[in-house]
């Protein structure tokens, strides 16, 4: 199976503190990989490095086999992401926000870009609300619009940092279904960090647990259960690892 995200001996020092320490892991094609750790563990920092927003102090990150530091443009060509919170121009419509960002879809003419915008609006269930101003969107709708943004460039990898933050149970269910649907229908690989372990347990086939910038455990959902046979859910496993 093809490796979509390869993190090789990556370390990151911020303000003289090593926030990521010699991290190595792979996310394979078709994976929905949960990236789990307590606050300040280094999840967002690693995701920022994987999306080219910051560079590692040591080590390398390969996206789809391309080194992001050496060939950033090519490596990010098929990556969609939401890091921290999705950002929009609040006083224009969701559709206009997407149409503006779609201009960065290199190789697509304007007609195709418009078509793509409608396609992603449909996918995230915002087609009917596309002409509403973003400031009138609920948090869940903004999160879905953020996902729509990340899908605009036909990504094969989607990186989501805390995507269910602030969502109500219905919003979380919709998001979960959307991710599962996209992974199934479009063969998109997902790399998702979240605090909501129950949510991750329902969608992920692979987990990476980190603490203080170090990997504590990597493996698929089945082996996690084998390793921790007595545990019933991810929360118990998480507490056990972090303990």
């Amino acid at each position: 199976m093809k490796s979509m995200i390869e993190v090789q001996n990556v370390s990151k020092t911020l303000n003289k503190r090593k926030v990521i320490q010699n991290m190595t892991f792979n996310v394979m094609k078709g994976d929905i990989c949960g990236f789990i750790g307590p606050n300040g563990a280094g999840k967002t920092t690693l995701m920022k490095m994987a999306t080219g927003l910051i560079k590692p102090s040591e080590g390398e990150i390969l996206i789809n086999g391309i080194n992001i530091q050496r060939d950033r443009e090519k490596a990010l060509f098929e990556v969609g992401a939401i890091i921290e919170v999705p950002v929009f121009f609040e006083y224009i419509t969701g559709r206009k926000n997407l149409r503006n960002l779609a201009r960065l879809n290199i190789g697509m003419d304007r007609k195709e870009q418009f078509k793509k915008v409608e396609e992603v609006l449909e996918l995230v269930g915002l087609k009917d609300r596309g002409n509403d101003l973003v400031k009138n969107y609920s948090l869940g709708m903004k999160q879905r619009l953020g996902i729509a943004q990340s899908l605009l460039n036909n990504p094969s990898i989607v990186i989501l940092d805390e995507p269910s933050n602030g969502l109500d149970p219905i919003g979380m269910k919709e998001l979960r279904e959307l991710i599962l649907n996209l992974a199934k229908e479009f063969d998109i690989t997902f790399f998702i960090s979240s605090h909501l372990l129950d949510e991750l347990q329902k969608i992920c086939n692979k987990y990476i647990f980190i603490k203080e910038g170090c990997i504590k455990w990597i493996g698929d959902a089945d082996s996690l259960l084998k390793d921790k046979e007595k545990e019933k859910d991810l929360e118990d496993v998480f507490l056990d690892f972090m303990g």
Binding site: T51, L53, L76, A81, L101, L104
Partner: protein, 275 residues
Amino acid sequence: MFRSLFIYEFEKFWFKKINIVCLIAILIVNLLSLKFALQSNKTADMTDIVFNSSLNFHITSLQEMLLTAFNAIVITFCILSFHEEYRKGYLRMTFMRGISIRKLYIAKSLVMSLNILLTIIIHLIISLLIALIVLPKTSTSPLYFKEGLYGISDVVFFSIKYYFLAYFSLLTFGSIIEFLSIKSRSIAGVLGLSLGFVFLNFIYISYVSFLFKNYPVSDPLVLKYNSLSFVFVQAKGVAYFASGITDVFLYSLIFMYLIFKSLSYLAFTNKNYLE
């Protein structure tokens, strides 16, 4: 790809309502200028430089508003396009796409330059129209730092040089604010540093006039030192340049522009976005 980036940036620029308000404000700025012009015309002679007519209002109004209203517009443009987008995370979405950050910066700079040019052109058109409708029509006019009265061809030539350097001074001021916008953590910080920069310029001008108190004000040495003050360039240097007395103000602006544009470029393309 660059074309797409340019349109993307241009579209984003005009999504921001405050930028549209800035453009509308030019009309108000011109009406204020007209008010001053009508007042000064009551006491001024037609041969006085302060006398406003259909031939020179577009110059006098820009002279009055360059240092204040136009700089304020440039600060607004820069804060919204650089500080807000860079610091508040709007650019994160762009930075995570497979596009060149270098090209993005160039597109952003071009859009900024084009829109500043647009404000200057709108000012020119409005001031010409207002002058034609309201102010006395004359066939000759006095020009800054030039003796006598000049006909339309001289006024046109003077205006082209005046508007060119005024525009370039705004681009230079923009490059300074752009750098402060990327580096400052808050809008208050950008505003504070911008005003601090202008204030320092005033102190520098006072210091130069104290240092050269025995020299005539238009002595080449005094002008050379004053050309390092951005405020002096806008207040008087533009007119000195347009009147053909010296080109030193053009060179100093080029110098400042290159320095601050390079610093902004390095800050913008830093490989650790908002680390």
